[in-house]
Amino acid sequence: MRRLARAGVAACVLVAIAFGLVQLVVSVGRLGDTAETNASANYDDREFAGGNSLVVDKRALYQARALIPEDGTYHVVAGPSVEGATELTEPYIDQYARYFLMPRRPDPEAEWIICYGCDRAGLERAAVVVWDGGNGISILEAQR
C-alpha cells in the first residue's frame, strides 16, 4: 500500500507540474493581453470601466462633478429617452452615479437633478437647465 500511495503522490506531482507549466504560459499570455488592453485605454475609459456598459455620455457625469459641490446633493431621474442607451442604462445609472459622484450625496429633494432620459416637463419641481448634452441627458438646478 505504501508503494501504491507513493506512486500516486508522484503521479499527482507530475500532473500538477505539467498542467501548471502549460497554464503558466497561457495565463501569463492572457495577463499580458489584459495589461496591453488596460494600458491602451484612454483616461476616461479607464475611469468609467464598468460604467462603459451603461453610461451613454461621459460628459454628463464629468459635468455633474464640476457643477455639484463635493458637499452637495443630487437626484438622478432616469427615463427611456436617452439616445444610445443600453438595457442597463435606465435601471442602473443611479447606482453608477452614486459610485462616481461620491462624496456628493443622492437625495430625492436635492438641488441638482441629473436627468438621464427623463421627462423634464414631468419633474415635480421647476428647474432650469444648466447643461444639456443634446441626447436626452441634462443637468438641472431646481428652483427653490
Binding site: 500500500m1 505504501r2 501504491l4 500511495a5 507513493r6 500516486g8 503522490v9 499527482c12 506531482v13 500532473v15 500538477a16 507540474i17 498542467f19 501548471g20 507549466l21 497554464q23 503558466l24 497561457v26 495565463s27 501569463v28 492572457r30 495577463l31 499580458g32 489584459t34 495589461a35 488596460n38 494600458a39 485605454a41 475609459d45 479607464r46 475611469e47 468609467f48 470601466a49 464598468g50 460604467g51 447606482q95 453608477y96 452614486r98 459610485y99 461620491m102 462624496p103 450625496r105 443622492p106
Partner: protein, 460 residues
Amino acid sequence: MTVRALLGLTAFNAFLLGVGVATLAALRGWRSWGDLARCAGLAYFLGVSLFGVVLTVALIVGVPFSMASVLLIGVALSAVAFVLRAPLASWRPSLSPSREHGLGAVTFVFGVLVVVCMEALFRAGRLAGLSAWDAWAFWVPKAKAIYFFGGLDEQFFRELVNPTYPPLLPALEASAFHFMGSADVVTLHLQFWFLACGFAAAVVGLLAPRVSPILVWPFLLLVLTAPRVAGRNLDPQADFLLDYLFALAALLLALWLVEHETWLLAAACPLMAAALLTKREGLMLVGCVVMAALVASWRDRRYAWPRLGLVTAVALAAAVPWRIWFSSRELTGELPSAGALALFDNLDRAWPAFESVVMTLFDYDLWLLIVPLALAAIVLGFVAGARIVPTFALALYALVTTGLTWVLWAFTELELPFVQDEGVNPIVRLSASLVVTSAALVPLLLDAAWRGADGREDTP
C-alpha cells in the same frame, strides 16, 4: 494611478506587515532573520486580519476614521503584541534548528516561475479600470464612503447593495486610500496583488520546513495560474480575500491538529475573525473549518475540543458588533428570503443545487484539475495510513460542498442549474474557497501519503 499612489500603497502594506511581525513576535518568535523572512507571508496576513478586525470594530463603535486613527490602531496593536510577549512566552515553540530545505533547485526554479506569474499579474492590475459589477456597485462605494465621511455613513451603508455585508474589506480599502492620498480605484487593484503575494508567501513559509518543496511549489503554481484565479483575483471585492483567510486558517488548524503547537491555533483565531467580517459566507466557511477540525480531532477531543471552542468563541465575538450594528438598523439580507430552514418547501432544488456545485468545482476551464487532485491526495493519504490530515481535509471538502449546496438550494432567487454569469448564480465565486485552500492542504496531504504518517514533530 500615480507613482505616489503606488508608493503609498506599498507603505500601507509594509505597515500591515509591521503589525503582523509584532504579532508573530508575541505568538511564535523567530530563530533568525531567514526564519522571519520565511514567516513574512503569515505575518502579513496576521497584520491584515488583526488590523482589519480592530479597525472594523472601531468603525462600528463610532471611532472617527482618519489617517491618524489608522496609524494609531496599527501602533496600538503592535504595542499590545509587545506587551503580551512575556505573558505568551509559554505559547511560543522552542525554535531549535529544524530540518530546513534551503533554496534548493526546486525552490529556485518554481520560485522564479511564481515570480513570473506575479509580475504578469502586477502588470495586468497596474492600470485596470473598476469593471467588476459588485466592486463598483457596493464594495468600493462603501470604502469611498468610509474614506470621505470618516466612518460607516448611515445613508450609504443603508442604500448601497448588500447592506449587511461586513465592512472589513471596505475599511482596509479606505485605509489604502489614505496612504495613496486619494480614492484611486485604479491603483486599488494592486492592493489585491499584495494580498495574493502575501497568501503565496504564507503558504510557502508555513509548509517549507514541513513538506518537500516538490510538493509545495507545483500546487501553488497550479492554483495561482488557474484561469479563474489569475483572471479575477485582483478584482477589488472580498471574494479572494475571504478565500485566502479561510485557506490559511484551514492550514494552521491542520498543522495544529498534528503538532499541537498553541501558537498555530492562536494564529488561526484572527484569520477566522477576519473571515467572519469579510463576507457573510465567512460564517459558513469558518463553521466548516471548525467542524472539520472537531471531526479530525475526535480521538484527541479532551485536549482539542475545549481549545477549538475557545478560539472559535473569540473569533465569533469579534463578529458580534457588526451583527448588532446592522440588526439595530433593521437591515436585512443575511438569510434566504424564505428563511434559513425553508429548504423542504423547495426539495426540487436540492439535486440541481448539488449538481451545480460539483460541476463548478470540477470545471476545468475555471480551476483546471485542482479539485480532482485534492480528492486524489485525500485518498492517497488514507491509503498510506495517515489519518488526521486526510480526515480533516475530507470533512472540510464535504462540509463546504454541503454548505455551497445549501446556498444554492435555500436562496431561491438564484437560478439553477449552474451558469457562469455571477449576477445569476454566485457559485463560481464561492467555490474558489476550496480551490484556493487546495494550494495549502494538498502538499500536506501528499506529504502524509508519502511518509504514511500525519506530520513531523520537530517543525514549529
